[in-house]
Symmetry: C2
Subunit: 415 residues, 2 copies
């Protein structure tokens, strides 16, 4: 039996090709979920999957499954991530995990290998949550964590409904978006942090995710004429928001590095230059290594908001989002990944993930592995995001070995 | 000859009727320019004008002119203001000046009076600038101060083009939106300040307007992952904006009451909760009694922005808008207004206007008068805006007398 290897040149070429679809002058990518460019990237993925002999289906939320048949009709080993980007984002976040799946399948094809379990390469819809919130959407619907109807009813900043965009761009398919048996889920992703590069470690094996939550803040002031009302009389919701943004940043500085928090989203009414704003909405994003630490962040922000509301004569309501519990990845699958990596001369370390990934959804359905490779300076969600070609190839090599290990039970049981 | 008087009951009824079109639960009005409710208010204005025997025409920007024929084909005495409101605003700002014009015409009709000059009651399009900016739009186009094409190309927050809304709601008419000879322009408006009510003075005669300008601020930071980037590494455009909002408010407090300034508009990119914002735009609105004072406000804000940019490692660009010079209203027309008011037992005072009005546009075309009546607690651009019925009637009474004085030259030259 030929010992298969991945085609690193093709992996890089696919990454650069997809990066050109929505590519920005600064070397990033602007490809929000369900946009024209997302539709183009999806078409390319389907083309490449069919060229590799795979059967492509799409479900009601637009998740695309490219299936390589196994020798038995068993639940598949899924390899996936997402093709949508931030607005703008980079060329690697998400894309790497999808094209690496195709590279793995091509390697199996070239080596003439059949696996017992089918292998499915998956593109999950709207992981980024940049245009439609929440993110990690397609995988959450698939895993039964988010009702399909709730996802379909979301609107973007311009009021466009997600279901309309799915229909307009011909993205939704006939397969129900619902849980089905999955044997394993494997996701390769850039670290989005500086540790692997700093240590010159090839591979990060994720043990668990951080605790995270958002806070949705409504600040109620009083509309008034900005050219007339005396400064001391103004009950300016935007001014209260500015004070709270600073207070939130101070909380973040106080808990760093165990946690982080910033206000990141703002909307303002009537947002007309001659009017003192009467309503300003803020959203903050908080993470912490512990549930207690996250609760402490929320409590500090609530206390700051109370003081600001009194000082500015505004009302400040805060609704913290459902706390996203830490997800723990199974140790035995991680151990198999470490063994495979070791067998291929790759250095590994265990680490936590500070960000959400589709693997956090799939971990509710089946044993899952989240595999990190380095990215330059830990930068992501930015046009300067970068992953060296050999970093990406190392990750794909581990993915191939682990997929063979998990899907090819034939050799293991020596039939 | 019958001595005409206005019908105060009808004036109030018309104000309340229009206030119901877009009326809010809190007693305000939400009737942005070129909305469905604006179209309904316009239809009502045309109906009432035609009932009063007037000829109604509309120009290319949607300004509506209701003409009562004079005995000679001379330039008209115009009486006008606007029917659009803030989002939400009150029931008097603008509306009073339009319905008072209709009440004046009805009074002339009832008394059987013919004037030498025609009288035109005008509804100017988009005075508020709440939905489409800039405000004072229709009158500025009519006065040749704003190119029609520039106005037509403006878009609202949802990207809807002004020209499309003009067409969709059947608001634009065939008359060119361009300057033509106007004999006099008379505008009645609530004060939007507390002076008249506090002094129990019936009428404010406006001498001049304040100096005003806006500043358009672009703050450039760096996009990054909000769950990952260390707090100290963040180049958060929204954080810099928050600091600048506070600094601008301090400048306002320092120059009050000669001037005022607040940041009132904010937009933020990518405005997605998992991202550190890389671009935040602010707009501030500044007024001052003197040009030097306004320049000082801009200079103080620029200095604050420089310090904030350095502290937050962002770039802050500020483009102050064209400074709106003070407009001076002619003393002789004001003197005539004071005489007419005195003859009707109304107390008057001279005052400046702190806000923009269509009369500032028309003052470039012809001798114009801007007449204020009290409003409760100086509140405007708010649902609690209120003008007592007898305050409104006093203003309409002066408007009638002044229109007769300026349009009815027949009695003056004793033909």
């Amino acid at each position: 039996m030929t010992d298969p290897d991945i085609d690193g040149g093709r992996l890089w070429s696919d990454l650069m090709t997809l990066g050109a679809i929505g590519g920005t002058a600064a070397g990033g990518c602007f490809r929000p979920a369900l946009s024209e460019t997302d539709a183009a990237a999806r078409a390319l993925f389907r083309l490449w999957a069919e060229e590799a002999g795979m059967i492509v289906t799409t479900d009601a939320i637009g998740n695309i499954f490219a299936r390589r048949t196994g020798s038995e009709d068993l639940p598949p080993v899924m390899i996936g991530s997402h093709l949508d980007t931030q607005m703008p984002g980079g060329r690697f976040d998400g894309v790497l995990g999808v094209v690496a799946g195709l590279v793995v399948v091509r390697a199996l094809n070239a080596a003439g290998i059949t696996t017992r379990h089918p292998i499915e390469v998956v593109n999950w819809t709207n992981e980024e949550g940049a245009r439609f919130q929440p993110g990690v959407m397609g995988s959450a619907v698939f895993a039964g964590l988010l009702p399909l109807e709730e996802a379909l009813s979301r609107t973007d900043r311009d009021g466009t409904r997600l279901s309309d965009e799915l229909a307009r761009n011909g993205i939704a398919g006939p397969v129900p978006a619902a849980p089905r048996p999955v044997h394993r889920y494997l996701e390769l992703h850039i670290e989005q942090g500086p540790l692997l590069e700093a240590e010159a470690t090839d591979i990060g094996l994720v043990t668990h995710s951080t605790f995270m939550c958002s806070g949705f803040v409504d600040i109620h002031g009083a509309n008034a004429h900005a050219q007339i009302e005396a400064m001391g009389q103004r009950r300016n919701a935007l001014l209260a928001a500015a004070r709270l943004i600073l207070a939130i940043e101070e909380v973040g500085a106080a808990v760093d590095p165990a946690g982080r928090v910033s206000a990141t989203v703002i909307e303002n009414w009537p947002n007309n230059r001659v009017n003192i704003p009467h309503l300003t909405k803020l959203t903050y994003m908080a993470v912490h290594d512990t549930a207690e630490g996250l609760a402490d962040i929320n409590a500090r922000i609530r206390a700051a908001a109370d003081a600001i509301a009194e000082a500015t004569r505004t009302r400040i309501d805060i609704a913290p989002s459902h706390l996203r519990q830490a997800t723990v990845f199974p140790a035995d699958l991680r151990k198999r990944a470490a063994d495979v990596a070791g067998g291929r001369g790759l250095t590994v370390r265990e680490m936590m993930t500070l960000t959400a990934h589709d693997a956090l959804s799939l971990a509710h359905l089946c044993p899952s592995a989240l595999i990190f490779v380095p990215c330059r300076d830990g930068i992501s969600h930015a046009e300067g995001e970068w992953c060296e070609p050999h970093w990406a190839a190392n990750g794909a090599r581990l993915l191939l070995g682990l997929a063979l290990d998990q899907a090819d039970r034939i050799t293991e049981v020596n039939i």
